[in-house]
């Protein structure tokens, strides 16, 4: 007997499974999947400006820095400003999805591709953002490779205000509606990577980015 049959067989025996209750059980499974019952959720004010406010507050609490500009077209200049402030080279790997912005005009040299170990700065957008916890929801695809938010020491993300939702449930609902099925990699990112493994002392920059800088696009 295969291990699959052995394990499932013992689980079935323990549950007293027979043909009749298997049919009821399958109905329960189907109903649970169809109902998508949500647990209690903390109150998050659904007004657009309140969502942005909460997203910013939570992001700051998670050690991200935040800048605000009006439009997507202003983003490259905001990126250039941040890189200069941080004394970082004006050079970055970006999501191919963002290649259409005028990076050269802002003096930022970009490469639109997946990130490599040597890349110091990665620039991404986000699928949506979650106000409750100050979290970016990143969906991987050829246009939005996961490595760009992971390998570089500095991660800069553009966040459209209209794409801020209240909770994780709303992010998944949006993915269902717009993408149909879940992409291979959905990554929820809240601030720079960190560890507290040595003496429970929090250190930023474990294996992922040391800093996360968010540029909120208010009119987008």
């Amino acid at each position: 007997m295969s291990s699959r049959e052995d394990i499932l067989g013992r689980v079935r025996a323990k549950l007293g499974r027979d043909a009749a209750n298997a049919a009821t059980g399958r109905d329960t499974v189907a109903a649970t999947l169809a109902e998508r019952t949500q647990g209690p959720r903390p109150h998050v004010n659904p007004e657009k400006s309140a969502l942005a406010g909460r997203f910013i507050d939570q992001s700051l609490a998670y050690s991200s820095s935040v800048d605000r500009v009006k439009t997507r077209a202003e983003a490259p200049a905001a990126v250039a400003r941040y890189l200069a402030d941080q004394q970082l080279p004006a050079q970055a790997v970006i999501w191919p999805q963002l290649a259409g912005l005028d990076w050269a005009g802002a003096g930022v040299k970009v490469a639109a591709r997946g990130a490599e170990d040597a890349d110091l700065v990665g620039i991404t957008g986000c699928f949506c953002a979650i106000a409750e916890t100050g979290t970016l929801m990143l969906c991987g695809s050829p246009d939005t490779p996961a490595t760009v938010s992971l390998l570089p020491e500095t991660h800069i993300a553009l966040v459209s205000a209209s794409r801020i939702v209240a909770g994780m449930e709303d992010g998944f609902a949006l993915a269902r509606a717009e993408l149909g099925r879940l992409p291979r990699a959905v990554n929820f990112v809240s601030g720079p990577s960190r560890t507290g493994d040595i003496e429970q002392t929090i250190v930023l920059g474990a294996h992922g980015p040391y800093r996360v800088h968010l540029i909120l696009l208010d009119n987008e």
Partner: protein
């Protein structure tokens, strides 16, 4: 991993006598507790969320076979291979086979407690595959001659900065660093190289989502993302009880897991991974395997210990346990320490192999009130104690004493007479003092505390006297 739980008492004594360990435990004590207390206040209906999490975990266990089939169906549809393992040896066989099939030389590992259950690193090394632990804590343990973890979330809780500094100096052959950020940076640089050159990533799974066939991984360091993004093969090793129905359920559990574990509102990275790399993708594994593990779990389904299968491995029970806080994790002797370990170790490795663990608790129920999925941990510990007595695993004199006690307690007149003599004898023994320092009949009990002396009359006597007084005054 071989269990050393039979030697719990001597392990615990050694832990108490170790000044370095005691110092490190004292430093850690309360940190997670305080942070959790603050973080749960952010949730308007924390108790309601716990109840919802308990119910959703129970809902799966009631039809566990069907939920596993549903998960398997959806994961397979997205290109993953689902394998099953009865025990640790079968986990090792599967992973080594996968490694050989894909010509793997090096495996980068994100934390997996099941890999500890199986002793997977040993098997990989024997098969010529180099395992590299990438969680900072687990890495520190690996370079310290594969020392076992002492906490499921903070594996090197028992170590201080000095010890880590020594280890890094010795292993990396670099000048000794004494600042925690510098040590973290050094580990980052060493491990980055491994991430980039590993052929296989091995991770645990915090949850398996049935509706999408996904694994959910929760990390702060980002190593979970690395090992599931860069290598061409990803193997998920996880228990059969980790399946949950929907992404909505994941959202509910994610309000509880980080808060209960480290007191964070959310962990830095929550990854929901589904299927294999698509043709135009820049990253992601070409091959994805799930190894669904029994190793004792199936036996608990439908049993009086089923509640334990709800566990989401947050570690809150050990963080709040006065016994764990005092002796640390190693004394428990197997993979899981603290209250959850005192239940899982006897259930998974044999009740006769961990006789002392169900007794390594004060039954104060701190663990029960903080458990995010409401597992009645003290009740399960008590049930294990009962099982020990029923299956004659306790010493004969203890069983005889319990039998005698049961007989007396079910004969009220005899009980009354016994206590009438008892309280007077003990009062006489105390000789006017408030407590008895050494009790001749139970010297072990008074070795670490005094026995409070009775006031001289039994409860029944006092109650009768009080009633008589009241009648008189009315």
């Amino acid at each position: 991993m071989e269990s050393r739980s039979r030697r719990f008492k001597s392990n615990a004594l050694a832990a108490l006598a170790n000044p370095v360990l005691q110092g490190n435990l004292k430093m850690a004590k309360g940190k997670f507790v305080d942070k959790r207390a603050i973080a749960i206040k952010e949730i308007d209906d924390f108790e309601g969320t716990r109840e919802a999490a308990k119910n959703l975990r129970n809902r799966v266990l009631e039809n566990l076979d069907l939920w596993l089939e549903k998960f398997e169906e959806n994961a397979t549809a997205r290109g993953a291979t689902v394998l099953w393992a009865k025990d640790g040896a079968e986990i090792c066989r599967h992973v080594v086979e996968i490694g050989k099939r894909h010509g793997v030389k090096k495996a980068a590992k994100s934390k997996s407690m099941l890999s500890e259950e199986a002793g997977l690193n040993h098997a990989l090394t024997a098969a010529g595959i180099q395992p590299v632990e990438t969680d900072l804590g687990e890495y520190i343990l690996q370079i310290n001659d594969n020392e076992p973890p002492s906490h499921i979330i903070a594996p090197v809780m028992h170590k201080g900065l000095d010890e880590v500094a020594d280890l890094f100096e010795k292993t990396h052959k670099t000048p000794r660093k004494t600042e925690i950020p510098a040590l973290t940076r050094e580990a980052r640089e060493v491990l980055r190289e491994h991430f980039l050159t590993a052929d296989m990533g091995i991770s645990g799974g915090n949850f398996l989502v049935a509706e999408t066939g996904s694994v959910a991984l929760v990390t702060n360091e980002g190593n979970g993302r690395m090992v599931t993004t860069l290598p061409k093969v990803h193997v998920v090793v996880t228990g059969i009880e980790k399946v949950i129905p929907t992404l909505e359920d994941l959202s509910t559990l994610m309000r509880l897991l980080p808060r209960s574990a480290t007191g964070q509102s959310i962990s830095n990275y929550v990854s929901v991974l589904t299927g294999v790399k698509q043709p135009d993708d820049h990253d992601g594994p070409e091959h994805l395997y799930f190894i669904l593990v029994d190793n004792g779990r199936a036996e608990l389904v439908g049993s009086e210990f089923q509640d334990m299968l709800r566990c989401i491995r947050c570690g809150a029970c050990m963080n709040h346990c006065p016994v764990y806080q005092t002796i640390g994790g190693h004394a428990y002797g197997w993979v899981y320490p603290g209250p959850m370990g005192s239940i899982l170790t006897p259930l998974y490795t044999g009740i006769e192999n961990a006789i002392d663990l169900p007794h390594a608790a004060t039954l104060c129920n701190q663990c029960g009130v903080v458990c995010p999925v409401k597992i009645p941990l003290p009740e399960l510990l008590r049930k294990l104690r009962e099982t020990q007595v029923e299956t004659h695993l306790r010493p004969w004199f203890e069983r005889l004493a319990l039998k005698g006690w049961a007989w007396v307690a079910s004969h009220p007149a005899l009980y009354g007479l016994g206590t009438w003599f008892g309280v007077r004898y003990l009062k006489w023994l105390a000789g006017g003092k408030a407590s008895i320092p050494v009790l001749g009949t139970a010297p072990g009990w008074t070795a670490g505390r005094d026995f409070p002396a009775p006031e001289g009359r039994t409860f029944r006597e006092q109650y009768a006297a009080m009633r008589a007084e009241r009648r008189k005054s009315s």
